[in-house]
Symmetry: D2
Subunit: 439 residues, 4 copies
């Protein structure tokens, strides 16, 4: 008899790993994990050791019978795994810095999950993920792939279209963050708030908002568009929409919609920050360095609070909650990236969407929403087209497709710019994009 | 017994009218027109007289038994009409100049059929067209409305959604121009070339191209992306796409796609032209002045060749060809704006699309194309959403909807800019937008 | 402040009422009902008194603070109700007997929820239900209508299309019965089995079957198609499908599919039973008589076990479980009749389907299933078309539509038979079909 | 340079061949055929010789430079063909007689294009047609396959799903017959009548009817449902629908709809005819014998008028008209069986439908109709499901699928009957169904 669950975490040397470990410790009662395999590549050996040893100390402190394995042998880790989580970064933060810097030169937003940066992160990442899927097919065909790797929508799309495994879920902390923000606005506990989510990863909308099951969307829109005593709009952070726009839109955009509904302002802001403080990759680089210094401390045996600044808040919650709901057939509602299956009319059935699902042992089952509001269908479909063409480019190494994907992206909207950026970025990331450089 | 067809031309004082008159004269054998009623508003009385008298001289010269009536009484013109054509401009060229100028200040393209200019032309025009439809319901319920008025897609959408007449066709000369350009590239007669069109007005794609019925799309794409002896891409005018982009796109965009696939370059070009030579409205203003001077000449009894510079080339051909095919149940293929009826999967059945149709006495019947290529679906749907919300704003006078429409338009993509432009343009066009200013 | 929930039960004199009362008593902890209003029409006064007094004795025995009201004043009952349940029978069992008898003469199955019987039950019932909806709009606009009245699919369709209330759920005990049958086959507790249901009322399919969240559909199909030691197929009752058919179908039909997949055999069986023992209505008539004799006993203060033979087993469970899940925003999965909303691709979004839903305070949210298997789409759509046209006939009183509905019904498939049956049944039910007999 | 068109006619020994030859002679001016290859199998050698020699005499009399080749070598005939027509009958009339006789024993209609007969004709025919397609792929990849072989809908479906050629059109004379019947009813020339057809082969509906381009559907329905002086409905033959039904249906069914809308009456009629005069196959057998006697006459050099009784009236017209429109890129409207491509919403895009199309050199392009009327969607989809599952059974030789196909067919509707008939018919046709009998 199997003694417990085996988890394989690809990219186990990530600074996020303590989040995940903490989650497994907290949920042990309902999720009897017996082995956690942290896998990394040779380049990441040092980080794997540091964070892996912290993980071991955390487990030891918990007193739980969980074995933590550190390994560069991915196949050994995958063998008979029950859940595989992926949190990898091909090319590390150096590559991210390029994704963020190069577009700025062309007057285009540089960001690692959208636009040119998102495209190139996808081009580097998708072949690696598909390779993992092939190994899974052979070594753990019944395992679930829980992908946290960005761009999560594009990666999930690629797995659905090009891999031979069906058990994949893409996970993001944006929806859970939206629920928490609304709970905080309403000054209630998170558990009392539920949002009907639908859209794509980093392009998800809250179609309705419930407090204790009763719709409070109108009230929330009223609250965030109201003026305070100083005549300023009482927004919540990251939701500073023009009241007129939000009222007519009548659904709740997410943080990343700033790129599309405040495109010029966001570009200027990102550009100025890059000039003043460096890009996000550069900031994260320092954060990570500091974190790993902390992690080295042999007396540290808990997740250090500094990790929360890193950006992945609630990932642990979201990931462990998802894994537990699958394992325990909980049938609760969670927003994840999965096959659309007709839930959103204007997206093909076989494409990945981010949507509120019932999480069962058989995987996520999306709740049918009919269709997205007229005002958002086009943008969502455009980004979905971008993701599909980008995924095809990643698999085929077809430069023309990469240029097409970027041309139709709303942040670029220029075939000449697209061509120039693709060419410069292909060269910059050449080492990680062999599919484009085979003769 | 009725002696022949009655045509009512709303906006009959337009400088284009001689085009139409020439068309009716040329086609008299198959299209027995007996009355042409040119209608205008009081403001346009002088132009109506000038162009109307030219029309009378043209008819007289032709020797055909057609009566030309000039009138300000729209209801008299509509009474028992067989075909109603609309070529009106609410606010005349002054309003157009504002549509073109104001957005430029905000760094946004100013153009009368797209973006902020298109929105405001629609807001001014749609109530007038719906008013005409109401009169038609009463005075000529069996007549066809042939709309040339821009933005033709948005206007057709509004008529389909908000009027009680079914017999409406929107017409544009862009598709016929594309066919002619391809014919010229292939150095063959226009009649030998046919293009499968699908999309929206000013956002139409050539899905396939046939020479004598045989697909030559690949050859055409090869030709336009090939390098000439000087190493330059052998484009045809208005189709200067990056070869990589066009090959991957694999359908033929139209001239107006420059706004979306070369957005920055087009903005810069339009801006520089506006600074150097004035906007298009301003150029047209001079052209029109010159044309009307010519039209005054009592010896002129033909369409003067100078009219071709005005921009509406082939309109006469397209319009009379359409009217004749309806009247004669010709069942030939023409690209027009009509109810989608399932022909394009990603557009609602009840929305207007620009698509190759069979033209029958019962109206245009769109040819099913399955769906648009993945790469273009999103953009087309986004513009369709813009048109729908704009049409609703035009009918309701809801400022929030106008701001929403502009925010989701790819040329704007900013709620703050949208709000500022809407507010400035509402004020600038106040006289023609009573629906937004009722208390 | 409101002290508790008010339930209005239309058709409260039904012999089923003790089921419902028992359910509310059992669930009082999570469903704080304070008033139950049992409503009936004058014709039903005596039964209402008998069953209503039993209900009062049951409540009294429970010691719970629930008031039971017996009334003929529907509007008083509806006023401020929280949930309205409908379990009415227009024309009582006499009408049912005609629905069952008349078709048999024409060689057509007589049954009260399908074919001619279902049509005429719908024609009699729909106007009454729509009338209740109008009262609800006025008197309790926030209440949920929980309809048990057959034909539940057609009635729900009619409410969705022709009433102005949105809060309606149709409920049937067939799905719960299927789960119980499978649980019994697998020899496990019901709670461990879950079936993904999709289709229409009395035409629902089990698309997949889970035991503790793991699919066991193949095993179940294997079990029910296997031969036992005597060489007989080991079916479960009502699932005696030919093994080859069931294996190729690969989903689980419901009991009522016998009418369509064993149409001739079922007709013969029903006909013989009618001849030998009388129709179901006639059998039920005796059962009811016996039940009401029992109910009269002033010492009886529990639901008598004889009620279970009546046919509505699990209705109490299903109904109270549904009401409690709505009230408590439980978000559990239950199969109900609700607006499709895109969950089943081949059924219109705005039609009623019977499908596994998440039950929230905001109502049922169907889980997207993509599409039904190819083999069943046509039949499901045909019955849906029958239901839609029947609902339209019920509302308009259009005899032609009634004949059309019956002609396209697979059990009839003859325009002449349809016409003859419609005419005979219109006459037979004339008293309850005023909409067909107005001049 | 190619001197003219090469036609390959598979099943060239058919008694229909003189029809086709006459058609090619009549249309030579617009369709310059230079070679006609009549192909048959060894079993058909004698008939091929007889009809082939008649064909040669017909051509000789015409004086046209067309070579007629008679051959058993299919590959030689296909080599470089421009059009391939298929009019074959696997198992000849003996097999047809079984298709018609066996079902009658089970109380089910026996007919060669519907129900059990249609299923088994499909099971025998589809593998042969797919084999021809494979040869075409190799020997004449640019040729069009014009299939007349029944069941034409199922065969076209199979080619679309399982063959690697795209250029296939299924052709039937039912629509043209409907147009002629309506023309005759209206007492006008056929050319003035046009019907908008949509549906499936042998299940096609006339959605609208035009006389000189103007809708006369209401008038036609009025005419055929009206009573004559004797109080009888003035139907046209094969359209004897109950007036109430037809008015509510509001589209025009075809002759074969009698099987579904008058199922019992039609079964009785066919059964009585079979008993009295023999089945259709048996009648045709005699007809064919007589025809071949006539054909043998060395002085006969025209199509004998007796051929018209054979049942394929207008096939020649329809076939040559179709081939000429493709060859000449005529872009006229013809009803054919082709890929749906979104034209009918409730049928999958990649399925075969029978629908009014524009016939171009690039093949038929269906005219979008939105969706079929609610009343007919279900039946059409059910027959489409039957065709799909039958085609899959034909390709895989899966007996379970054959039983499923027959169970869901509305004429059968019984899994036990389906199983019995499949088993008896598999045995009866064993020689032509090797795919079901391989070990």
């Amino acid at each position: 008899m199997k003694k417990g669950l085996k988890i394989a975490t690809i990219g186990g040397g990530s600074s996020y790993t303590p989040e995940l470990i903490e989650g497994f410790i907290k949920c042990y009662d309902e999720l009897p994990v017996s082995e956690i395999w942290l896998v990394d590549i040779e380049e990441g050996q040092e980080k794997l050791d540091i964070v892996g040893n912290l993980a071991k100390r955390m487990i030891k402190k918990s007193g739980l019978p969980i074995d933590v394995h550190l390994t560069l042998d991915r196949r050994a880790a995958l063998k008979d795994a029950d859940f595989v989580t992926t949190q990898l970064r091909v090319g590390l933060l150096d590559a991210r810095a390029k994704d963020e810097r190069i577009p700025l030169k062309y007057g285009v937003l540089g960001q690692e999950t959208n636009g040119p940066g998102g495209l190139f992160k996808g081009l580097r990442t998708i072949p690696v993920i598909l390779d993992i899927c092939k190994d899974m097919e052979e070594l753990c065909p019944d395992a679930w792939l829980i992908n946290f790797t960005n761009p999560a929508g594009m990666v999930t799309e690629a797995v659905l279209r090009y891999a031979n495994i069906n058990k994949v879920v893409g996970l993001c902390n944006v929806p859970i963050g939206m629920e928490r923000a609304v709970a905080s606005l309403l000054d209630v506990e998170h558990a009392r708030v539920r949002i009907d989510f639908a859209g794509l990863n980093h392009m998800v909308y809250g179609l309705d908002i419930y407090l204790d099951g009763v719709s409070v969307k109108d009230k929330v829109i009223e609250m965030v568009t109201d003026l305070d005593d100083n005549g300023l709009v009482k927004n919540i952070q990251g939701m500073e929409w023009e009241p007129e726009f939000l009222k007519a839109l009548n659904v709740i955009p997410c943080y990343y919609h700033n790129y599309y509904y405040k495109s010029r302002e966001t570009f200027e802001k990102v550009k100025q920050e890059a000039e003043a403080e460096g890009t996000r990759a550069e900031a994260v680089h320092q954060l990570e360095k500091d974190l790993f210094e902390l992690y080295k401390d042999p007396n540290l045996d808990v997740k250090p609070p500094q990790l929360e600044k890193r950006g992945g808040a609630y990932y642990s919650d979201a990931a462990v909650r998802l894994i537990s709901s699958i394992y325990n057939d909980k049938r609760d509602i969670q927003p994840v990236n999965t096959r659309n299956n007709g839930a959103i009319a204007s997206i093909p059935n076989d494409s990945a969407v981010e949507i509120s699902c019932i999480i069962t042992k058989d995987g996520p089952k999306p709740i049918a929403i009919g269709d997205l509001p007229v005002a958002v269908r086009g943008l969502v479909q455009q980004i979905k087209s971008f993701e599909r063409i980008a995924a095809e480019a990643a698999v085929t190494g077809d430069r023309n497709l990469a240029i097409l994907a970027l041309t139709i992206h709303p942040l670029v909207a220029s075939d000449s710019l697209a061509k120039q950026m693709v060419d410069e970025m292909l060269e910059a990331h050449r080492r990680y994009l062999p599919q484009f450089f085979s003769e």
